[in-house]
């Protein structure tokens, strides 16, 4: 599978990365080179093989239900580019 300008533009939009037309044009051959290379995986016979789920055999630990965190609003907002009245501020979202 190879990507074209439209696909790269779409992927950039999905990834929320603003790209210029020139950047897209540069990315197309680059991504196609990488994709063509990774596609050699298609030749591996994976019949009956499960996708890896845990690289070291291990299962999920569950924690007890207790309130052990929160109440740290200042720390949460400390690095915010725009914080007001205890909220994060973002450009107005119109629904």
């Amino acid at each position: 599978m190879s990507v074209d300008t439209a696909t790269v533009t779409k992927i950039a939009s999905l990834a929320r990365i603003k790209v210029s037309e020139a950047e897209v044009a540069a990315m197309v051959p680059e991504l196609n080179g990488i994709l063509a290379w990774v596609e050699q995986l298609g030749e591996v016979d994976v019949t009956g093989v499960e996708p890896m789920t845990a690289v070291i055999p291990n299962t999920l630990r569950l924690r007890e239900d207790a309130v052990t965190d929160g109440g740290i609003r200042d720390a949460v907002l400390a690095n915010a580019p725009a914080a007001e009245h205890g909220f994060f501020g973002v450009p107005k979202v119109i629904e």
Binding site: S13, D65, T68, D69, V90, V93
Partner: protein, 500 residues
């Protein structure tokens, strides 16, 4: 139910509506699904946010056992398959209420698989007209934060208190065919969740909300294209949304258009749905297993402990009320529809049986009838719920005991109950204070009977001539003369004697 099938009459004939519901139910837990911040409602903005919830760099999720346990219990309550091996996946999209840029959810391997809920469309007879609604899955996922749009002219404000709170998404099969069925399903699901205690079912606070999938088709044809109306937060609104959406789709199709598969928004003010254009740009959520979390493997013992912790559920309870307590299906249905009602009833039943020295089955009808008529009537008038009933089960049992042992009549009991509601005093104390004790002394009643008959000699003549309907008149006059306190049975007996 074919005889009462819901159909939309279009210009080209009848249309059938096909409905599936995805219900998001907030799991009852102290802390969030993947962080130790509090999951309670209504705190100051961003006061219940951990660094994990705010998706600070390098923060990692650690799952809350209670949330898993509650989802498993919910699954068991709807007879669902519990998947001992499940996984969390990431659903990737960008929005200001989603700090990670993805929601941790379960797409590929949900915790709970196929189950079902039986709904009834006939309150009078819950066992007739039962329809089974399939549940496809229940999965566990994070809630998003909240955006506020009206506090600043050019900015929206983000509050992450809800961010990361545990939700169960309960996905039905497209098995419903009318707004009424959808309403019955939602009410039943809510009842089950509240019985189980896994969700408080509070739709106003958003702890339960539904995405409504609706399509229409000509009966017998394949499914049409569906729309999804998001985040509808009451049973009534769900029903309205379906009605509106179904007729809108019929209009679209009959005017030669096509239904667009899209996300829509319900407007409670107008009862209509509208397209959410802002969310229309092709979503591609790029689900993949969350590499921060390992597979969730449940031991059989964990699942069994969940099963053992389940309470008696509404259907089983209703059947027991019918068979063991001899209640009618209707009354049993009313008493079991809400967990609070059943809880109140069972407390009343136990107190009543103790006070009267009888078995529960012997007092069940008295207790059930009083609760469903007298208490519900009073609460309705007062605009109060069972939880803040001014009368406790023990107080009510005291009142019922006075009726049962003949101390007061049923009529007087109504007066006593009114006084109880007004004053909060006990029934026996009110009866004593107001002198409402029933007169059963034959001598005293005999005298009144004699006077009533003497005062109404003409009517006695008519009665003896065959106008037997007048018997009730004599009873009424006697009771009136005794201010309602005479034992009605004794009055009856004495009147019959005196009238020959």
């Amino acid at each position: 139910m074919t005889n009462s099938a819901y159909r939309i009459q279009g210009a080209t004939g009848e249309w059938e509506v096909v409905i599936g519901l995805e219900v998001h139910a907030q799991v009852v837990s102290k802390s969030k699904l993947f962080s130790g911040a509090s999951a309670t409602f209504g705190a100051e903005p961003n006061a219940q946010v951990s660094l994990v919830d705010a998706a600070m760099p390098g923060m990692l999720p650690v799952p809350n056992m209670e949330c898993i346990r509650q989802a498993v219990r919910t699954g068991l309550a709807i007879d669902a398959q519990i998947n001992a091996w499940s996984r969390f996946d990431r659903k990737n999209y960008f929005y200001a209420d989603l700090p990670q840029g993805y929601q941790i959810s379960q797409l590929y391997h949900p915790l709970v698989g196929e189950g079902h809920i039986d709904i009834s469309l006939d309150d009078k007879n819950p066992e007739a007209a039962v329809k089974r609604i399939g549940i496809e899955r229940i999965h566990v996922e994070q809630d998003a934060g909240k955006l506020m749009h009206d506090q600043h002219p050019t900015m929206s404000y983000v509050d992450l208190n809800r961010s990361g709170v545990a939700l169960m998404e309960i996905v039905s099969r497209p098995d419903m065919r009318s707004p009424a069925e959808a309403g019955a399903y939602l009410r039943k699901l809510r009842a089950i969740l509240r019985y189980v205690g896994s969700c408080d079912g509070n739709m106003e606070e958003g702890s339960m909300r539904a995405d409504v999938n609706v399509s229409v088709r000509k009966p017998g044809e394949p499914f049409g294209t569906r729309t999804e109306t998001k985040n509808v937060n009451s049973v009534r609104f769900v029903m309205q949304a379906i009605e509106h959406e179904a007729s809108r789709q019929v209009d679209v199709l009959e005017s030669g258009g096509k239904v667009v598969q899209e996300t829509r928004l319900f407007d409670p003010d107008t009862g209509t749905t509208r397209s959410m254009r802002s969310k229309e740009d092709a979503h591609d959520y790029r689900y993949f297993p969350d590499p921060d979390l390992l597979p969730l493997v449940l031991e059989a013992s964990f699942i069994e402990a969940c099963r053992a912790s389940l309470p008696e559920l509404p259907d089983a309870k209703r059947q027991r009320y019918e068979t063991a307590l001899g209640l009618t299906p209707y009354v049993a249905g009313v008493l079991t529809a809400e967990v609070e009602t059943a809880r109140w009833f069972e407390a009343l039943l136990a107190e009543t049986a103790t006070k009267q020295g009888k078995g529960e089955e012997a007092v069940a009808k008295q207790a059930a009838n009083w609760l469903t008529s007298e208490l519900f009537g009073a609460l309705n008038r007062l605009g109060r719920s069972l939880e803040d009933s001014p009368v406790s089960p023990a107080q009510a049992a005291e009142l019922l005991a006075l009726v049962a042992d003949g101390t007061i009549s049923g009529t007087i009991a109504k007066q006593v109950f009114e006084k109880m509601l007004e004053t909060g005093d006990g029934a026996a104390a009110i009866v004593e204070r107001e002198g409402l004790k029933q007169e059963s002394d034959t001598g005293a009643i005999e005298a009144v009977v004699a006077k009533v008959l003497a005062d109404n000699a003409d009517k006695v003549e008519q009665y003896k001539a065959g106008k037997e309907a007048l018997f009730g008149f004599f009873v009424g006059q006697t009771m009136k003369a005794m201010q309602g306190k005479a034992n009605p049975q004794v009055v009856n007996d004495l009147l019959k004697q005196a009238l020959g």
